[in-house]
Amino acid sequence: MTFTTNIWNYRHLTYKLAISDFKLRYKNSVLGFFWSLLEPLLMLVVLYIVFTNLMRVNVEHYQLFLLMGIISWNLLSRGTTMSLYSILGKPSLVKKVYFPREVLVISSCITALLMTLLEFVVFGIFMLVFAVVPGRLIVYFPAVLFVEFLLVLGLSFGIAALNVYYRDVQYIWAVILQAGFFAAPIIYPLSIIPEKYLWIIMLNPMTRIIDMLRGSVIYSTAPIPGDGIFIIAATLLVFVIGYLIFLRLEPGFAEEM
């Protein structure tokens, strides 16, 4: 496939754009990265208080459960949101030079991944504070995270390309993300979902991804092979559809902007 060879030749540029984007985010602020942690941490505190005191959710290590959910969901929401504007937001790069346009989307997703990795460092500190030590099942963690990254990338290809043609996509996507936050087991455990609706929640690949991430790091529960196959299959499906949309729309980018 030309995809791999062509993009591989531009890996240097992809990386450069991702890093510079990352740097730019924190360039003019004194506390830099700290600010971007503030939002998930605030959310953590609020949700923690609400769910432990008012709703009385009974989950072991709920604060870690919640934080892992928020961080892994953030990778998806931040990655796709940044990608939405990755092409539209850089008209000079699209209209004045040529490189594979995939580079713009991939670099946005990498920027989001970098931010997520930093959040995971904070997550590590939390684990120390609450004295939870991950077992050897943590080796699955990078693999699951990689699958999630591919899912984010696949979604990003599709919506970033569509957004060039139809600006509604950005608004629709914001709503979908909002809904998705509650439709995935981020703040609640799967056990509170009634049996007959469970399959709907399980259709969402993010459900299993978040579940597996938690299992590998916090609870040391071995992944179920079926779950692994499901998320890989779903991710590949999303990726192929997203990328086909991208390929179909890509020739007109410079004209539409």
Binding site: H12, L13, S20, K23, K27, K96, R167, D168, P251, E255
Partner: protein
């Protein structure tokens, strides 16, 4: 020689929306009501040419003739609507300097980003960093944020970085036209270097002079159609003199007001304060004829020009004198002569007459010139005086400086 760019039957259609439909809702309503919603605009059609390795080709044409569109298609930024284009080699487009610059990052960081966009790796730039900073004169500001540098510095930085690329095929869109004299000279030096290294170059410019200097071949576009492709000098002649049946189009070359244009092209004369005389002799038309014998308003410096004057003699006049005066910038008299000074007898029998003034060598370098044509008696009683009623443009050829070409040569 091997080919570098092969363009065959290339066409490009732009869809220009009546009203920009950017949202899904507008698309849906548009489809429901069966509105087409856009006009098709033929930006390029039937373009055929081949650039060989090591050739420099200039693309010329008026504004809106499709030059930049063609360049963008070659650069793979736009895709053709029909036909095909084959590129053999790595393309480096210089369509704009400093693409992707981040004002919030430092000069040094921007060098690396820009270099990456131009296809250079960090390692390649590491060795050249000093050279780039030296060239752009930003050594002491390398860690300053780009937004704090002057725009001139930014352009120099972009240029210094861009020329580090080692292109196989170079696309240039009037990059040379910006910057001060010193900078332009540097650009030219680099251009010369690329020419010497036998890089393939495609160059879009309004500056016919640089096209003539650098490019061995040229492509002339007009309204998206290929008028001619071939030897530069021939093509530029075609451009300037419009040597084909669509001569009229070539004339809006310089920014010239349409009204004046019309007057000089059609040779019709409008009554104004700028005209006086007792009309015993009436000048009916004045035309500029180029070296191909066609009426024109644009001329190359150094070419021939014939001023064709038609006049009616309405009454018996004794000793008719016809004169002309050429003005630069509408008030500086460059040259004036008349039939009496030149000792030429003018036909003064009643009826329609014609007289020509043949200029063998237009010695002015470039600019817009106005022409006064007058018929008067030997005692300077004006019969018909048309003051600065006609104009023509001269386009520079060669690199001498100044207003006029003075025939000269160097000797030991």
């Amino acid at each position: 020689m091997a080919e570098a760019i092969i363009v065959s039957d290339l066409g490009k259609i732009f869809r220009i929306p009546h009203e920009k439909r950017s949202t899904l809702f507008e698309h849906i309503t548009g489809v429901l009501y069966g509105k087409k919603g856009y006009e098709e605009f033929l930006a390029l059609k039937n373009i055929n040419f081949t650039v060989k390795k090591g050739e420099a080709v200039g693309i010329i044409g008026e504004n809106g003739s499709g030059k930049s569109t063609l360049l963008k298609i070659i650069a793979n930024i736009l895709r053709p609507s029909s036909g095909s284009i084959t590129i053999i080699g790595k393309i480096t487009p210089f369509l704009e300097l400093g693409v992707g610059f981040q004002p919030d990052l430092t000069a040094k960081e921007n060098i690396y980003i820009y270099a990456a966009i131009m296809g250079l790796s960090d390692r390649e730039i590491d060795g050249k960093l000093e050279e780039i900073l030296e060239f752009s004169g930003l050594k002491q500001f390398q860690d300053a944020k780009l937004k704090n540098l002057s725009s001139g510095m930014q352009v120099r930085l972009a240029f210094a970085t861009a020329v580090q690329t080692n292109p196989e095929i170079l696309l240039m869109d009037e990059v040379l036209a910006v910057g001060d004299m010193d900078f332009q000279q540097k650009c030219l030096d680099v251009f010369q270097r690329y020419l010497k290294e036998k890089k393939t170059i495609v160059f879009v410019s309004h500056d016919l002079n640089s096209v003539r200097r650098f490019c061995s071949k040229a492509l002339l576009l007009r309204h998206g159609e290929q008028v001619a492709f071939g030897d530069t000098n021939e093509i530029i002649d075609k451009y300037v003199y419009g040597v084909d049946d669509k001569a009229k189009h070539a004339k809006n070359l310089q920014s010239e007001s349409k009204k004046e244009e019309q007057k000089s092209v059609d040779g019709k004369i409008e009554e104004k304060k700028t005209r006086w005389g007792n009309k015993k002799v009436e000048i009916t038309s004045v035309k500029f004829i180029d070296k191909f014998g066609k009426e024109n308003a644009v001329f190359n410096s150094g070419d021939t020009m014939t001023i064709l004057i038609n006049y009616d003699v309405n009454a018996t006049v004794d000793h008719l004198v016809i004169g002309i005066a050429i003005y630069f910038d509408s008030d500086m008299l460059c040259y004036g002569t008349n039939t009496e000074i030149k000792g030429f007898d003018v036909m003064s029998k009643q009826g329609t007459n014609e007289i020509k003034l043949c200029i063998h060598n237009l010695s002015m370098m470039e600019g817009k010139f106005k022409l006064t044509v007058a018929a008067h008696s030997i005692k300077h009683v004006p019969y018909d005086w048309l003051d600065k009623q006609f104009s023509f443009n001269v386009i520079k050829k060669g690199n001498n400086a100044g207003l006029f070409e003075i025939p000269c040569e160097w000797k030991k």
